[in-house]
Symmetry: C2
Subunit: 236 residues, 2 copies
DNA sequence: AAAATAGTGTCTATAAGACATTATGTC
DNA sequence: GACATAATGTCTTATAGACACTATTTT
């Protein structure tokens, strides 16, 4: 296997294969109060006790990383059921965690604020939402992971339908546009946005209007598919 | 599901954290005889002895996955020095390797054919090049990894300058176009390709022409940067 | 009728893609 | 001068982006 190699650092005739611990760490994003926010937990153990980190957990025997990530979502943020989640990157630097050489398989997940339930559940760590625009310093290399996750999600918004993950089943075009503006962090032109988005064929009108306040009610729409779909053409 | 879990499967009060082996597996691509090819090695051990697999190796103690991948490139394909390589995905299914629960951190690398040296070097496994258009069945889940790596590289060609990894320092526009055609698997219009590529400002003409056969010599170009650069605008 | 958001169309500029001929070397 | 590849420009169509007013409902 490592053929031809005569001497390994250990002096043994076999390479010093590492048996490593793996964690699944999740960049869990949502929208609250018209702002994109990320779930962070306060560490209850050393090292870095009391400082903020991404929710994460060790991968168990016979478990795949994605299942561990879903377990983390359930246990630390009360998120159950269908959630948009994708693998982000695997961080393997031996020094990234001061406890030892621990690999992090990082995920990004996007949920509606409503699907987070911090209050109930047995967690001792206290999760909370932080706006991505002004972030505190995070433990380990979690700042880097978060930054990377944010970039990934912003890219995905342009090339996929994942806005569905932040919207109820039925929504208005104004709500959809607002989601894009919050995630991308810039204002969009209403007419151009509607023209473009409708031309993509990812949403369709439903027989329902939203009669909000003292103004004209809005046509509601639904996503044709609530599974992640990649576009050939960007939204913006 | 996992919320409120009082007893772990082992009955212990601590979760059954797994200590796992990790491998770095590399989708190593090159161009040979006007075809995109991938390096595969014949397995010299069980399981799947004699069948084809991606070059890979276990991650060692205090080593990061990327270093392991570079070691694999060096040992199994004689590739040294600066190589375009990026992390692809991490495969963690417990059943993916029949030897046990082994994680694969997969990488894609792109090199010039000239930089591969199979002959010399101490490997007992015999690496060889296979056209990506007609691939044999691979061991484990390597077929899936390869397919994913190919997709990644094709996407990257459209949005970055990584064509540099398949070209000598100086090259003609026809050579560049040919690289794109081989990687993407379709013919491109010469005039449109030149117009577009030159407008991106990623290459510049040098004071040299290539006088090949009995025809007009071609202007040579070089990449402004031979580091991976992401574009805001696609090449094609 | 005032307030508030919904809903709509045009114009301009830029880019993509289809397409054919001339230029300049070597042999 | 025959051959082979290099090099080049125009037209059409589609898309992106700037931009302002009318429509409909509630109170």
């Amino acid at each position: 296997m490592f053929a031809g190699m005569k001497n390994y650092p250990t002096g043994s005739d076999r390479p010093p294969r590492a048996r490593l611990f793996l964690t699944a760490d999740v960049v869990l994003l949502t929208i609250e109060d018209d702002a994109l926010k990320v779930v962070l937990v306060e560490r209850t153990r050393r090292p870095d006790l009391g400082s903020l980190a991404l929710p994460g957990g060790f991968i168990w025997h016979a478990e795949m990383a994605e299942d561990a990530a879903r377990r983390v979502l359930a246990v630390k943020a009360g998120v159950e059921g269908d959630v948009y989640m994708e693998q982000l990157y695997t961080f393997t630097e031996p020094e990234r965690d001061s406890r030892g050489h621990i690999i992090s398989v990082a995920y990004v997940a996007v949920v509606r604020r409503h699907d987070l339930s911090f209050a109930d559940g047995p967690q001792t760590e206290t999760p909370a939402l932080y706006p991505v625009t002004k972030l505190p310093k995070l433990s380990f290399d979690h700042g880097r992971i978060l930054k990377y996750g944010l970039k990934r999600i912003r890219d995905k918004f342009v090339y996929t339908n994942i806005a569905y993950a932040l919207l109820p089943e039925r929504f208005t075009l104004s709500q959809l546009q607002r989601v894009y503006e919050i995630v991308l962090g810039r204002d969009l032109d209403k007419r151009n946005f509607r023209k473009k988005y409708l031309s993509l064929g990812m949403i369709r009108p439903v027989q329902e209007v939203l009669s909000g306040g003292r103004h004209r009610p809005a046509q509601m729409f639904e996503f044709v598919s609530r599974k992640a779909v990649a576009l050939t053409e960007p939204v913006l």
